[in-house]
């Protein structure tokens, strides 16, 4: 029944029997007639859908009121999970192309799993974060392909315009007092004891403005929590930085590569004079095995940040696609010597 169906879903293949049972407990059936929307872009996310039958089309609106289809999804698909992970707004509209049925996990019911910090909740979260990272790398490949087709659509700084300052240095000074740390996003979620224990496992790192924290393509060695200041994550493509995101206090940096064990997808430079807490890969793996409340909250922050990056890249691609088409039209127009006139 549902248990058997859950085992079909690729996203949940790593879950054990207990985790699948807990997921089953929070899932409620839904049906949807052809032509109706599961959810609309811009709505506040309230849960995710597991599709058992039917087909759903996922499309995104763009400036100028155009729409592009992102995916056509069938049996075994998970739809709308991003909103569940960061409680953001729906980034696309999902519409039933034919009559659909499946299961809905509401945010409220998922919270029930989450607040218990159960092994099941941890397992589900790690499945999600792995999925998000995989999707993120796919979007980066798509962005690179768009830039390859039309290099002028990449508006970033030239690599030669960003001479790296002296590199990061291990700070011999103390971190801010724990009363200060306790006010920073993500660290705010930890209890006093959890925070003190978490901080003890990290070391401080000062990174001056313009300094390189890690290169794109580097092997994953560390992840960092921004304590003060900000870093820029960029794709390096040909001779340009394509800025993807700016991450301020409370953000986790460098974790994408640690999650899937592949090279760093981004270059990371300090955009401001920045103080970080740094964790070696071994500490990250230890937390992944740990499943303590601290580990759970840390990976919640990691998941939320990863979803944030996914949203950012989606935004960039939403701008790049029409830009590429515009450039192609201009180029074609120039070749044809056709006077379009002013619009």
């Amino acid at each position: 029944m549902l248990d058997g169906f859950l085992k079909e879903i690729t996203l949940f293949r790593g879950l054990d029997a207990e985790a699948l049972r807990e997921l089953q407990f929070v899932s409620v059936p839904f049906v949807l007639a052809s032509g109706k929307a599961l959810f609309v872009q811009g709505d506040e996310a309230d849960g995710m859908y597991l599709l058992k039958s039917g087909v759903v089309s996922v499309a995104r609106r763009l400036p100028g009121d155009e729409s592009i289809e992102l995916a056509s999804l069938g049996r075994g698909s998970v739809i709308g999970e991003m909103g569940l992970l960061d409680r953001g707004r729906r980034s696309a509209t999902a519409t039933a192309v034919e009559d659909c049925a499946g299961y809905f996990i509401s945010f409220a019911r998922f919270e029930h799993l989450r607040l218990g910090c159960t092994g099941a909740a941890f397992g589900v979260m790690m499945c999600f974060v792995g999925e998000v990272v995989q999707r993120l790398r796919g979007l980066l490949r798509e962005a690179e392909a768009l830039i390859d087709e039309s290099p002028e659509i990449a508006p970033g700084l030239r690599v030669s315009d960003v001479p790296h300052a002296h590199g990061a240095r291990e700070d011999s000074g103390p971190l801010p007092r724990w009363e200060v740390l306790a006010q920073i996003p993500f660290l705010r979620r930890l209890t006093e004891n959890e925070l003190k224990s978490f901080v003890e496992s990290m070391r401080a790192l000062s990174v001056p403005r313009g300094a390189l924290l890690f290169e794109q393509g580097a092997d994953p060695e560390h992840c960092h929590v921004v304590i003060r200041g900000a870093v820029a994550l960029s794709m390096v493509h040909e001779d340009r930085y394509v800025q993807v995101a700016i991450l301020g206090p409370g953000s986790v940096v460098g974790e994408i590569a640690l999650i899937d064990g592949m090279p760093q997808p981004f270059e990371c430079i300090a955009r401001e004079d920045t103080l970080l807490m740094t964790m070696h890969r071994s500490g990250f793996e230890s937390l992944r095995r740990d499943r303590s409340p601290t580990a759970f909250k840390f990976f919640e922050a990691v998941t939320g940040d990863a979803v944030g990056l996914l949203r950012k890249i989606n935004g960039h691609i939403a701008w790049m696609r029409p830009e590429r088409q515009f450039r192609a039209e201009v180029s074609s127009s120039n070749h044809a010597s056709d006077d379009r006139g002013y619009r």
Binding site: E44, R61, G64, D65, A182, R209, R340
Partner: protein, 321 residues
């Protein structure tokens, strides 16, 4: 949830438009998150903006089209019948409009002279500012060496915004001339560099958002920028909590026509053929699906290509590595 700037002391709301002529009330009043509504129920701020309103707008069909309509008032715009009446009659091809937000205390000066956008006499370029330079009274007069005397003499108010404007204008050899978008962006970058230096000389290094909106009726430039983003007072836990850890927002939408379409206020006509743009502190509608964020630390502008206006982004350099 949309990102908010909860916790900061004051923050204005601004919009800039350029494109096909459109009724001013279609930007100021009628959308469900219009600029005037952001006075009291902003989607992305947990505060009121009660310190006045200003607008500078160009109508190519008006008498002396290069000279804009200007309206500034220290009053709360939602109660301003004159503004509503004016907005219902005015058709604009370019507009900068601003609702002013200030801390709720007696130290603030409310007055017409502090209303944005600023436009000095004889100068075509107007500017509005969304943000707050931390400890500005400490550094104000250190900007004087960077401001042409004739422009300094025109400063009437006491806002950081007007001083930023005067410093920016002074980057041009002749501020009374028209300048293209890229020259204006260079002036913006140079102004930020000067402000950064002056802040450092005074030991000021706390987070200070500085979004700018500029137009002379011909060009449109907006910048999304913050000095020392993420930098709070490490000795004061309360200041950490008060500090915003989200980059001050700036959004845009493009298309070939803006208006009420299928019951929704939006741009239509696609992004490829877009020649109209709205750039604003936050989207003008609760449905944000046709809006995108302007990248952090960047300037955006309209570029003329093949007689079409086209939205472009230019990243600003990292200061003083």
């Amino acid at each position: 949830m949309l990102p908010t700037t909860a916790g900061i002391d004051s923050m204005c709301r601004v919009l800039i438009y350029q494109g096909k002529p459109v009724g001013a009330d279609c930007l100021l009043y009628r959308p469900d998150n219009s600029l005037i509504k952001q006075t009291h129920s902003s989607l992305m701020l947990d505060m009121f903006n009660l310190a006045g309103f200003g607008m500078t707008a160009w109508d190519p069909s008006s008498h002396e089209p290069s000279a804009p309509f200007r309206y500034h008032s220290p009053h709360i715009p939602i109660f301003d019948r004159n503004l509503k009446s004016l907005a219902e009659k005015l058709t604009v091809s370019t507009m900068i409009a601003h609702v002013r937000g200030v801390p709720y205390n007696e130290k603030v000066t409310i007055g017409e002279q502090n209303a944005h956008p600023f436009q000095f006499s004889g100068i075509p370029l107007a500017m509005a500012h969304n943000g707050d330079l931390h400890d500005f009274p400490l550094m104000r007069y250190s900007l004087l060496p960077y401001i042409k005397p004739g422009l300094a003499a025109q400063i009437r108010g006491n806002t950081d915004s007007e001083w930023i404007y005067a410093t920016l204008l002074s980057r041009f050899d002749d501020p009374a001339e028209y300048h293209d978008s890229l020259a204006t962006i260079s002036a913006v970058a140079e102004t930020f560099s000067i402000i950064h230096d002056v802040r450092r000389k005074h030991g000021i290094s706390l987070c200070s958002p500085t979004n700018l909106f500029l137009s002379d009726g011909k060009i449109l430039v907006a910048a999304r920028y913050t000095f020392d983003f993420g930098c709070y007072d490490p000795e004061d836990p309360a200041s950490v909590r008060r500090s915003t850890h989200k980059f001050l927002s700036l959004w845009y939408t493009t298309g070939s026509e803006y208006g009420l379409h299928d019951g929704e206020w939006k741009m239509i006509g696609g992004a490829v053929d877009a020649d109209s743009v709205i750039i604003a502190s936050e989207p003008l509608t609760r449905d944000t699906s046709t809006w995108l964020e302007v990248p952090e630390y960047s300037a955006c502008y309209l570029e003329r290509i093949d007689n079409r206006r086209h939205f472009r982004v230019k990243y600003l350099p990292i200061l003083h590595i």
